[in-house]
Subunit: 187 residues, 2 copies
């Protein structure tokens, strides 16, 4: 759990009482490549912290799997829309590699929010940070050509290309696998 605590410290400092409450509810799990954290059509009931491994989130769009983000060690993972709105989501989150995760349920988290102002603050700040990351991604993808998006990816997040099958990466960049293959061939 120390990796998680270290990670949280980057966002804000929690007092000991908050840390202790958090420690009491966190559940550790080791999961296998290919299994799912969340599947479409269900209400997402947990937030996960990824200690080791990687996952992808994908939609089914017109019968095709459309991967739209990845997460790696030291990040939080959930089906954001579903978790926040308490409605069934459209997304699936699947392990790309074997993972070690820590999880907390929605009710547990709300209880921590009520009980500890520090944790409410942590939630507020984390939401801010994750918003900024999504915004950056949005701007990059929306206004640049496929080639530029790929170049940006290999400089900003080379681990994605290294650890993720090409088909998923293409989908992530919003292009077909063939186009990505051709872009790579010319670099």
């Amino acid at each position: 759990m120390n990796t998680l605590v270290d990670h949280i410290r980057q966002y804000c400092v929690l007092n000991n009482s908050a840390l202790k409450s958090l420690g009491l509810v966190l559940q550790k799990a080791e999961l296998q490549k290919g299994s799912y954290l969340i599947t479409a059509g269900k209400v997402c009931d947990k937030v996960y912290f990824l200690q080791h491994g990687s996952v992808r989130a994908f939609y089914n769009l017109d019968g095709k799997e459309v991967t739209y983000w990845f997460a790696f060690e030291n990040s939080f993972v959930t089906s954001y829309f579903s978790f926040v709105s308490r409605k069934p989501g459209m997304e699936n989150i699947q392990l790309i590699e074997d993972c070690t995760v820590w999880s907390i349920t929605y009710d547990q988290l709300q209880h921590l929010y009520d009980k500890h102002k520090d944790i409410e603050r942590l939630g507020r700040i984390m939401n801010e940070r994750y918003y900024v990351m999504l915004e950056e991604r949005f701007i990059n993808n929306h206004f640049k050509e496929a080639r530029e998006r790929y170049d940006h990816l290999i400089t900003q997040a080379p681990h994605i290309v290294q650890r993720v099958p090409l088909g998923y990466v293409a989908s992530y960049l919003g292009i077909t696998q063939e186009t990505l293959s051709r872009i790579r061939g010319k670099s």
Copy 2:
């Protein structure tokens, strides 16, 4: 200020003490079409609540203005990245119509966060909601064709097409003005 208070009530309930503190720091302003709330290269120091009117946010990319979102009455507006990270941003926010706005500075807001758990919670919940909205937009734009994006826009947010010049809408959809014009011609 009542519109703002009503709006906030959609997210969560504030106790009277928090509401009073909020009322003490909010500044009202009437601004003219064409003027700017925020310009590129500066650290954004305020969050605005838009009571009347509309604004657009745009980047300068290779000498071209690229509009990437709009806001209308009853919504919050800021240069999210810059406001949160306290760094200069790349974005400009300009009034499309005359506006009535309420504003609060970064320091004032942090002070309210410290003083009132209710307001910390409001911040946390608002961040969640705005994240979900951005995510929805991201998914729509990233994985659908221009035509579908436009159709989605006129059903989900017809006021945008009605109140905003076509060039800005095209940019928002990630296409050129000519392409948008042709799409409209065929519907």
